[in-house]
């Protein structure tokens, strides 16, 4: 069983991600946002479970619903909110939008670009650099169900299998790519079979169980660091809001959302902690309050932060 303290920590991070997400959605609906943004509601167990499995020397390239990973990895809520609000203090210094470009190699985080699924070959390259130098490190990234139908998915997994790279991919199967359900994306959503043909170890986990995601990722990362080759983990979940802030997701059957609401990863883990006697309601309530305060502070700071000076427009195009 996972260390109880770690399980409580999981809750704290998930709650922080959820609180961030709710605050963000509220702000954008109030017109206090800038541009569009993506909610990761429902993806907290994946982002946190995977993020907590990473070792200090591992590198991760999260995508647009993996807020939890950024947070766990040490990207502060201030820098992320700052990014979303186009502030000079944001992770990309006003250059990139929402969770895009939220990277910091010092934290072992590579920021993603829109073009799906570019993080895959990039992360394979990181893994290959570990192999080149004989370092016991692993590189991890994520892809949505939608991103798996793109050429880069195939090219990356083929090479990852060929070279048995220390590479871990989490497929976040959340049933939809924007408005397009799985059955309009592929003949059959057999992700493990698809990855298996490349000589890659595969696993399927409940993407709404932070404990299960964490366990699968921990095992995969350890194997990768030990020279045991790549792993692809399918984590099944549901995108609980629209594709992006403007999208009402009318195309999702209400019943489907209700069904998944009952499996909410944050509430579920909370139930597990109390039922298993790992944490009391009071302890968890305190974590909830802490999360709210942490996010309130971050929002206030981000909103106070300056916008970039237009004279810095061309700074940083080149190294």
């Amino acid at each position: 069983m996972v260390d109880p303290r770690v399980q409580i920590e999981m809750y704290a991070w998930m709650k922080l991600a959820r609180t961030f997400d709710e605050q963000m959605v509220a702000m954008w609906k109030q017109g206090r946002g800038l541009g569009g943004t993506f909610s990761g509601r429902g993806h907290e167990a994946i982002g946190v479970g995977a993020g907590m499995a990473l070792g200090p020397d591992d590198i991760v390239a999260p995508m647009h619903r993996d807020l939890g990973t950024y947070l766990v990895r040490g990207m502060s809520p201030e820098r992320i909110f700052g990014n979303m609000l186009g502030r000079a203090t944001g992770a990309s210094r006003g250059r990139d939008a929402n969770l895009h470009g939220v990277g910091d190699l010092g934290l072992g985080i590579i920021g993603f670009i829109s073009h799906l699924p570019q993080s895959l070959p990039t992360t394979l390259g990181v893994a290959m650099s570990f192999r080149y130098r004989g370092e016991p490190r692993a590189a991890m990234t994520f892809v949505g169900d939608g991103g798996t139908t793109s050429g880069a998915f195939h090219e990356t997994l083929n090479m990852a299998g060929l070279w048995q790279a220390p590479f871990v991919l989490v497929i976040e199967n959340n049933q939809y790519a924007y408005s397009t359900p799985l059955d309009q994306q592929m003949h059959s959503p057999n992700f493990s079979e698809r990855a298996g043909v490349y000589g890659i170890t595969t696993a399927t986990v409940d993407g709404n169980s932070v404990v299960d995601v964490h366990a699968a990722c921990t095992e995969a990362l350890e194997r990768a660091r030990a020279g045991g080759g790549p792993t692809v983990i399918e984590a099944t979940t549901m995108r609980m809001l629209g594709h992006a802030i403007h999208d009402g997701a009318e195309y999702v059957p209400a019943g489907l959302l209700e069904e998944w609401e009952r499996r909410d990863p944050v509430a579920g883990h909370r139930r597990h902690l109390t039922e298993a006697g790992i944490a009391s309601e009071a302890t968890l309530d305190r974590l909830d309050v802490a999360a709210r305060e942490r996010i309130a502070t971050a929002v206030a700071e981000a909103e106070r932060a300056p916008l970039p000076d237009p004279d810095t427009l061309t700074d940083g195009v080149y190294a």
Binding site: L34, G35, G36, G86, R87, A88, G90, S92, G94, R95, D96, A97, N98, H100, G101, I113, S114, H115, L116, G146, G147, T149, S150, G151, A177, Y178, S179, T180, Q184, Q185, M186, E250, Y251, L307, P308, D309, P310, D311, T312, L313, T314, V317
Partner: protein, 339 residues
């Protein structure tokens, strides 16, 4: 954004008005009615959803799912697929969800589609609709203006309407053209511009520029969203006694060299402006053309305004610094007029 731009040739008040977006939608619908070889494909275009910008909303209900095909995320593959469909006589209208993702389909466009007729006499009559341009805080991957890549590539045609009427008319012209045509839609105009659009059949031929405003001192050559900025700039400098001509290119490939040279010669002072990155952009081609073929008529340097040599930044002060706008164009007009 200036959405009351009073064209000399098409006053905004005459007749039925549509937004730029509605005009595109109407253009698609009419072409689908006219020719059952015309179909729509792309990510999320189908069903009740109708695409990220809702341009194709209602088409599936009207024409059936088989004519409005939702594709997986596979731009290279589905554009390549459109090559095969088009060679068999279909006329796919492909929606790139954002013009930025057209780079993902690159080989299918710049290698296959562009060369098929030259190599084997097979025409590839598709249209790629590419929602492009920025100014709306969408960041580096939802704001691009990648037209120069395609203008440089032989065998393609490229259009970039600035008005609702042209959006409808060039869409029809593009669908009926027997070649691969990339149709750059200016996202900032989607809902901000509303003006007269002819009802029923309305076809604007590819390759013809249009003078949007006559003038005698300085010529601004431009296209897309910058047409509106240029017109606003022309208004702004009028009180200074500067008379500005504005030429809307409409087609970027083929370029209307005759119209360009006529407009350049008329004033002898030329500014080329576009939202795309300035360096090696389409504006460079236009400026170089003028500097070669209208050299004798030039009374001043050929100026160019375009995006900075940076990705399109997200934050308002940066994006505003990045992009040309009416004010910057007006400054350039004044400067050149005084040359």
């Amino acid at each position: 954004m200036n959405d009351n731009f009073g064209f000399t040739d098409a006053p905004a008040s005459a007749g039925r008005e549509l937004t730029y977006l509605e005009a595109i939608a109407e253009g698609i619908r009419l072409e689908m009615e006219r020719d059952e070889n015309v179909l729509v494909m792309g990510e999320d275009v189908g069903g009740d959803f109708g695409g990220a910008f809702k341009v194709t909303r209602g088409l599936a209900a009207r024409f059936g799912d088989h004519r409005v095909l939702n594709t997986p995320i596979a731009e290279l593959g589905f554009t390549g697929m459109a090559n095969g469909m088009a060679m068999m006589g279909l006329r796919p209208i492909i929606e790139m969800q954002f013009a930025d993702f057209i780079s993902t389909a690159f080989d299918s466009i710049v290698q296959f589609a562009s060369t098929a007729h030259y190599r084997m006499g097979a025409s590839v009559p598709w249209v790629i609709r590419a929602p492009s341009d920025g100014g709306i805080r969408s960041g580096p991957f939802h704001s691009q203006n990648p037209e120069a890549w395609f203008v440089h590539t032989p065998g393609l045609k490229v259009v970039a309407p600035a008005t609702p009427a042209d959006a409808k008319g060039l869409l029809a012209g593009a669908v009926r053209d027997d070649n691969p045509v990339i149709f750059f839609e200016a996202k900032p105009l989607y809902r901000s511009v509303r003006s007269h659009v002819p009802e029923g059949e309305h076809v604007v031929p590819l390759g013809k520029a249009e003078v949007r405003r006559h003038g005698t001192d300085v010529t601004v050559i431009t296209y897309g969203s910058m047409v509106h900025q240029a017109l606003a700039a022309a208004d702004a400098v009028e009180p200074d006694g500067i008379s500005t001509m504005v030429l809307d290119l409409r087609s970027l490939k083929p370029l209307d060299t005759e119209a360009i040279l006529t407009a350049a010669t008329a004033t002898g002072k030329v500014i080329v402006a576009h939202a795309a990155n300035r360096m090696a952009g389409v504006g460079a081609e236009v400026a170089a053309l003028v500097a070669d073929e209208a050299f004798d008529a030039l009374d001043g340097p050929v100026r160019r305004l375009g995006g900075a040599d940076t990705p399109v930044p997200f934050s308002p002060p940066l994006e505003d610094a990045y992009r040309p706008n009416a004010e910057k164009i007006a400054t350039s007009i004044r400067d050149l007029a005084a040359w």
